[in-house]
């Protein structure tokens, strides 16, 4: 009985609805990213792309999903059964966890109830994302090792070292951003950009580093070495079939969506758009327009991810490591130094 009264049930229901909405939306967007990927590829390569299922091939993701579901599920006899299933589950779980701290919009008013469109406004928001990204490597490593196949293992090791290496410059680029924002809460960061300029203007080098690292963390071309099929027969998910393979592929698209949303939030103003406070519209309308603005920015980044994939060739593995450790980390440190110096100068000049 105590448990029933100690809860603010409307709060719980509100958050549950928000979580379901965000999860459903990420899954839907990830689903249609596969369609978008093929359409963009077709457009860049002067083809038509999927156009048989539904208008413009819009039912293609459903057909693909159905195909993956109904395929035979094979677990190799030499594989570690439990870990083999755990791998894709971990990949999916960590992909979905990051969406918790991203502010998807400002406040919506239902009568006198204000609903913040963010699942958790914690003051460690960005660090939470770094933590989840760091755990994302387990999905790849466990899956690759449990397959008991040397190509899978090689790919898993590549993936792990790539993610660890690129986490460092990513963190350093973020530190420079925090020095400007003075807060780690994503909501605060967006609110500051709403009243000031977008942080991409103040942190162009930081943004560039973050963008490159985001490509590497998502295992996207030109850094898709863990799934370099011409070297590794397919990558860490070589032994996977059916929906477990689907989970791995799907997790990649969710990661792409979330990191696009994150870049839009951190460097491009999130849900804020120019003149949003001087339009004289009702708060709810401004909030809805803000959500649209965030998704527009996110889709632009997703398109950029695809554009790069169908334009640039893959890096060689040593080039990848060289870029990460010898170019990006020193550059990020330099960026941090310059940012600190400028902040200090603006605070008290040359005294």
């Amino acid at each position: 009985m105590d448990l029933m009264t100690s809860f603010d049930w409307s709060f719980v229901i509100e958050k549950l609805l928000l979580i379901s909405a965000v999860l459903g939306l990420s899954l839907l967007i990830a689903m249609y990213s596969t369609w978008g990927e093929r359409k963009v590829a077709a457009w860049i390569q002067d083809r038509r792309g999927p156009n048989r299922a539904g208008i413009f091939g819009l039912l293609q993701p459903l057909a693909d999903g159905g195909k993956l579901f109904f395929k035979e599920e094979i677990i190799p006899s030499t594989a570690n059964q439990f870990l083999f299933v755990l791998g894709p589950s971990m990949a999916m779980l960590t992909a979905c966890l990051t969406s918790a701290v991203i502010p998807w919009g400002d406040v919506l008013y239902f009568g006198d109830r204000a609903v913040t469109l963010q699942i958790a406004d914690v003051n460690i928001g960005v660090l939470w994302i770094m933590a989840v990204v760091g755990m994302g490597v387990y999905g790849i490593m466990i899956g690759g090792w449990a397959s008991n196949n040397k190509f899978s293992l090689l790919a898993a090791c590549r993936g792990a070292s790539q993610v660890i290496s690129y986490e460092l410059p990513m963190g350093l680029a973020l530190i420079a951003l925090f020095m400007i924002s003075g807060s780690l809460s994503l909501k605060d960061i967006v609110e500051q950009q709403r009243s000031g300029v977008w942080f991409v203007v103040l942190q162009p080098i930081g943004f560039l580093i973050f963008l490159i690292c985001a490509f590497a963390e998502c295992n996207r071309t030109p850094f898709d070495l863990p799934e370099a099929e011409n070297e590794l027969n397919g990558g860490y998910h070589l032994e996977y079939s059916s929906m477990k393979l689907g989970f791995y592929l799907f997790a990649e698209y969710i990661n792409m969506f979330i990191s696009s949303a994150l870049m839009a939030t951190l460097y491009f103003g999130g849900y804020s758009f120019p003149y949003m406070d001087s339009l004289g519209l009702s708060p709810n309308l401004v909030t809805i327009l803000g959500i649209c603005a965030l998704f527009l920015k996110t889709f632009a980044f997703i398109f950029f991810f695809m554009w790069v994939r169908w334009t640039l060739p893959r890096f060689r593995y040593d080039q990848l490591m060289k870029l990460g450790w010898k170019v990006l980390i020193p550059l990020a440190l330099l960026n941090m130094l310059i940012t600190g110096a400028v902040i200090l100068y603006r605070q008290n000049g040359f005294n």
Binding site: D2, L3, S6, F7, N80, L83, L86, V122, N123, I124, L127, W128, M130, A131, V133, G134, M135, V137, Y138, M141, I142, W145, L153, A156, C157, A160, S161, I164, E167, L168, L184, M321, W325, K326, I329, P330
Partner: protein, 164 residues
């Protein structure tokens, strides 16, 4: 029973069960995975104490970085239960005795320790990143700066070694 107590009980049960799993499982990879579970459960305890920064740093450093390296080494060397060397008998006795001695020390220390009542939930905000940062940069600025220089030199050192 409040919601705090339920969460605390579940987290503690998970932490203890997975800690036992670390030492009891034959397969080293399973041990590492149990250890990761244990770390996550302990991180949950930090968040129950509202120590948000400690929670997230614990996740980043231990589960995100150190355990990945553990797993990396185990997977590369492909250690399995089959090739685990049989330990000698005296090693087992030595382990049991030293473990028992450690337990004795811990119990003796706990007997005399006064355990203050832990404030639950949001009653304390000392673990928030703002307060922690202020403490680090005022009271403990010298050790903090020294260790940050140490970390930076370790990072630069890794790059230099990598260049050879």
């Amino acid at each position: 029973m409040g919601i705090d107590l339920i969460i605390f009980t579940v987290l503690s049960a998970v932490a203890i069960a997975s800690a036992l799993g670390v030492i009891l499982s034959k397969n080293p990879v399973n041990s590492v995975l149990c250890m990761i579970t244990c770390f996550v459960a302990i991180a949950g305890h930090y968040i129950m104490l509202n120590a948000q920064f400690l929670f997230v740093v614990h996740l980043i450093v231990y589960t995100g970085a150190i355990m990945v390296l553990f797993l990396f080494v185990l997977m590369m060397m492909n250690l399995n239960a089959d090739i685990e060397p049989q330990k000698r008998n005296w090693l087992k006795y030595a382990g049991a005795i030293s473990g028992g001695a450690l337990l004795l020390v811990l119990v003796a220390a706990l007997r005399d320790a006064s355990v203050p009542a832990i404030q639950s939930g949001n009653a304390t905000d000392i673990g928030l990143i703002k307060n922690l940062g202020k403490t680090l940069f005022t009271s403990y600025v010298v050790p903090f700066e020294l260790s940050s220089v140490l970390f930076l030199s370790a990072m630069v050192g890794a790059v230099v070694i990598g260049k050879k």
